[in-house]
Symmetry: C2
Subunit: 402 residues, 2 copies
């Protein structure tokens, strides 16, 4: 079997942890499998490099920043290879360029266009363990690029796809995907399996275990991902297309996202095209809008509310003010003390009463709902941020028991 393993920055943070990673890799290799391991930069390396850059130039070009930052993963890859050499295993470390990760030229957030599997295959044919510096590639100008957030996960899935690997194992500091955040919700259960779509909803809802880019790529190429703990190495959660139904599990997980703000545009004239003009302006400013709600306001006007990421609030307010005249609304109301709580489950579409169960849990906990949004596999509600943890626990108790 061919396994692609991925270890994040905290898993290779120091010599001791790198030795642990080498132990995991050794175990898989010695079972007779071919092993490719993708590593991120050690712990704080990236932050240290950014600090060095800022001392010299607070606004360096993204091209030079990529030249700088890509060294972090290269260092981690070499050190991990050295740890395996110490054990006495045949190993070789390779950079993104050496395995032909070709990207577009969006420095700092490049997208992978192709991978040439030749070099890796040659090394594997010689029964070498291949350690790959994640997060990086090279563009058509032969310049170094980095992949941005979730870059090393994306490298791992892309390599797994190029090599037709049997599985992509993402090692992290949690033991898998849980029905809710296990640090906050008593009785949160680890899922054995979850579908790509459920994972995508959970990732975008703030579960933060896997980045959406890597899950999307895994879905596209049918790569089976398993999320495991670097500490225990125990079987974690498998992410794949279809999962075997678990009778009593009506939903797969509950997620909380506190990085959200609600903007209410009050007193919008009841004329055609108002919503279009408003959201076109936001789109032009590259502001992502999540939940949208339109309701009747005073005197025959409409109120349009929507949510954005907290970091986009300032920009969104500016955009709204700039089109106040065009739209002719009355006033704006902004609330950042809100959170989005969502339940996700591929089985939702086949079960009735899921939404009712969620709302009942919130009602029992006396939590007021500001907005509701639904898709085929999720239901999200916007509530006061200070009640969010209580809401997650209440909903979890309703569906899974505490």
């Amino acid at each position: 079997m061919l396994y692609v393993l991925k270890f994040g920055g905290s898993s290779v943070a120091d010599a001791e942890k790198i030795r642990r990673v080498a132990g995991i890799v050794t175990e898989v290799y010695c079972e007779g499998h071919d092993v490719v391991a993708v590593v991120s930069a050690q712990g704080d390396t990236t932050d240290e490099l950014i600090a060095k850059a800022e001392e010299i130039n607070p606004r360096p070009s993204k091209r030079e920043l990529d030249v700088l930052l890509s060294t972090g993963e290269q260092i981690a890859a070499a050190l991990t290879a050295m740890a395996l050499e110490k054990i006495g295993l045949p190993v070789v470390s390779l950079t993104g360029r050496q395995i032909g990760i070709n990207t577009n030229s969006a420095y700092g957030a490049a997208e992978i266009k192709s991978i040439s599997e030749e070099r890796i295959k040659n090394e594997l044919d010689r029964r070498r363990i291949v350690i790959i510096a994640g997060f990086q590639g090279v563009n058509k100008f032969d310049d170094i690029t980095t992949l941005g957030r979730g870059g090393s996960d994306t490298t791992a899935v892309a390599v797994a796809a190029a090599l037709h690997a049997d599985k992509c194992l993402i090692y992290t500091d949690v033991e898998g995907i849980y029905t809710a955040d296990p640090r906050k919700v008593q009785g949160a259960r680890k899922l054995e399996e979850i579908t790509y779509d459920e994972m995508l909803e959970l990732a975008s809802l703030g579960a933060q275990v896997l980045h959406n880019r890597s899950v999307e790529m895994a879905k596209r190429y049918g790569i089976c991902i398993e999320v495991r703990s670097t500490c225990t190495g125990a079987p974690g959660t498998i992410v794949k297309e279809v999962v075997k139904p678990v009778e009593e599990m009506k939903i797969s997980g509950i997620a909380k996202d506190g990085d959200v703000a609600r903007i209410a545009v009050l007193g919008v004239p009841d004329e055609p095209g108002m919503a279009f003009k408003l959201f076109r302006a936001l789109a032009k400013a590259k502001i992502n809008v999540d939940i949208i709600l339109q309701s009747y306001g005073k005197d025959g006007t409409n109120d349009i509310s929507f949510t954005v990421a907290e970091s986009d609030v300032k920009d969104a307010e500016e955009v709204m003010e700039n089109c106040r005249e065009l739209i002719g609304f009355d006033h704006l109301s902004v609330n950042t003390d809100v959170a989005k709580v969502s339940i996700v489950g591929a089985g939702m579409i086949r079960s009735s009463g899921i939404a009712a169960m969620m709302f009942e849990a919130l009602y029992d906990a006396k939590i007021n709902i500001h907005m509701i949004s639904t898709s085929e596999i999720k239901i999200s509600v916007l509530i006061d941020e200070e009640r969010a943890d209580t809401a997650v626990s209440a909903i979890h108790g309703k569906f899974f028991g505490n």
Copy 2:
């Protein structure tokens, strides 16, 4: 004009120093010249990376060590480019691989086989300043190599040769090449010019301003080198093929090398082939022998003395003991408390009495000479290490006045 500048690790050690380097580069660029700058890794970066490696594996493969160490120069190159971006100049940093520095596969001490000047020329044609990560290349397997000691100097000279640069400016923490170590010899003078051959003798004699590899390459391709201070930027010392004769200067410089040991093999039978057997054994063990002296010993035997680097003493003793039976010598005597003091000058061959002047200076200072060695452009003597600084001052006084 096209200038290749080179800045060592201490010149780019921190943000402040990198800004100074950017200032020097800016000055040359704004005079209308094309500028390529080669940088070493910042101050202690290389040592820090080696320490990281040793914590994980005290004996990593040289291949992985090169993957690791090459990041140091890449970081320095990116940061230097960012400092120039801050000033507002067009700049691009490039790794050894990006400028096509092809080397053999001697990891850790690779030799440059070729450079493809295309990328650099394209960047220069666009009036960009090119910052190059020194010390590194790539072998025919597409793997990263490093050039070993003096590697960044060698990169700079090789780039200057490939581009037919008008001059290669080596910026360092001294103001040029001196007639003797200015920290130790009162009245030591800065040389305006020095020949490649003189520089080669001085470098191998422990002057340590330029590494021999870079001087040899400069001589081969006729690259004019100038050694300058990063601090003052004042005209330094020019290294070239032929220098204009300075009437009163009979020699160019005096150097001291304390890293030397004398091994005396006493009581060697007076038969043919003894010296051959002895030095063949040393050569097989890759031990470099410098000065050799043979003299009559007791009872019709010979005494053979030679000098080696102090780091080779243990190995040399072992080699000697192993061939004690083959050669049949009486006993060994090892002395590490010796130093080699040398005078160098291309004009020596045309002047008579230079050796006599040197010996007279040593006699006046009551310094005993153990061994003497001469070449066309140098005279070396082996003396007690504790008298070496006195010897250098005495000789300097004789030739240059104090």
